[in-house]
Symmetry: C2
């Protein structure tokens, strides 16, 4: 499948679940939609925190398209599943947001680690969570994001256990993906970034770390969702975890 | 002088003119300040046009500081001279905007070619406009920016005449300055980008092109001012031409 075929399947209601592994080689993205009154501060939050929040596309106010990511792309229908937030609280999970779209909404598409996972696998680096058919393990850290207006919160990281040799190779490879979180934020001792119990992730699924492996931590696209919850903005829409926007951009690494 | 010393001189009213050549080695930036209602669309305009509009800092709504660019930086006082725009028309040029600051304003700092000119000179590339004590020559092209909401308009470029060898070296050097317009947009025939009379720039001062030289064109930070005028936003503030924000960031090339 191409990125466009994934979007058309979501638009038709045929695809309502995760996009991991679909349309290999096409860039995937996190989605955040906010009213204009909050959007400028969120743009500033992204500008100040480019590792967890790399903006790869934005809409103009009230127009649910991002032509640079797909000529016929429509943010209201083209993701498999959305989350609706009111006052910072998750209130609904739906597969189409056409009825919720408003003239004052602004959409942000942020880079996603699904983009670099293909490149890691292509380089012969095994990723346990994919092999086990699970979601990646994610943790809230004690590293604070740079705040902007109401948006503030901890850096959230994803973790992949790798051998020392694979960790070094993964640092090199992901360092090239500056629009998809880039190189790891941290390698090794989880307590150094405030993670007290590595076997109990805050989001996603736990994964075992063998004695021959190091935990490798990347900035994660869940970070803005944590900031969104903290900000208690009156209204917001995001993708549902794992159910990303698949774009027409191809992965160049 | 350091970047901070330039800002303090502007704040004290002792510096009210251009910043070219001041605080060598410190990053300088263009300033655009807009009400929140227009700010999200302007952020989208910058995201869609990163070559002319590379965002290097943003304020949160109503707070005139950009800590990442200078701990005590205050956008209301720290530039030598500002332009005030109403309905897209230039209405005033002043040296302090404290009385005009509002709770709904958002400031954008965009990268500036003053940053890479130091590196060109350091590499032995002569820049005629600096030698002559003039402003760089700037032109409106027939290349359209990607529009976003009310913001649309032509790409504006700056031009520097260079020998073929220096042009090649300048392409290499400025290509590293991705936050200051990057590599040239065009080298050679001005008519290819819609410039019919190279001896009559739309902004800045004319400069002679010797028969041994090529005109080399870079995306220019005046581009957003052209888009601002087109957008006829009710209220905006920018720096006055040449009177930039000087930051604490040092030039790393």
């Amino acid at each position: 499948m191409t990125g466009r075929e994934v979007r058309l399947a979501a638009r038709a209601g045929a695809l309502t679940g995760p996009t991991a592994g679909l349309a290999p080689g096409f860039v995937q993205g996190n989605l955040v939609i906010l009213p204009g009154a909050s959007a400028a501060d969120f743009a500033t939050f992204c500008e100040r925190n480019p590792r967890p929040c790399p903006v790869i596309g934005m809409t103009q106010t009230g127009v649910p398209n991002v032509p640079a990511l797909g000529a016929d792309l429509d943010l209201r229908t083209d993701l498999p599943r959305y989350r609706v937030w009111r006052q910072g609280t998750l209130t609904d999970e739906i597969t189409d947001i056409s009825r919720l779209w408003r003239e004052d909404l602004v959409g942000f598409v942020l880079g996603c680690s699904f983009t670099f996972e293909h490149a890691l696998i292509a380089a012969g680096i095994p990723l346990k969570h994919l092999a086990a058919g699970r979601n990646v393990a994610m943790y809230r850290t004690n590293v604070a994001c740079e705040p902007a207006g109401p948006f503030a919160g901890p850096l959230v990281v994803s973790m992949r256990p790798l051998s020392a040799g694979h960790a070094q190779l993964a640092i090199e490879i992901t360092g090239r993906f500056t629009s998809a979180h880039g190189a790891p934020m941290h390698v090794g001792d989880p307590t150094a970034i405030g993670i007290s119990n590595i076997s109990s992730p805050d989001y996603g699924d736990a994964v075992e770390i063998a004695t021959s492996e190091l935990p490798v931590f990347w900035a994660c696209g869940v970070t803005p969702q944590a900031a969104l919850a903290n900000a208690r903005v009156p209204f917001a829409i995001t993708h549902a975890p794992g159910c990303m926007l698949v774009t027409d951009l191809t992965v160049a690494a």
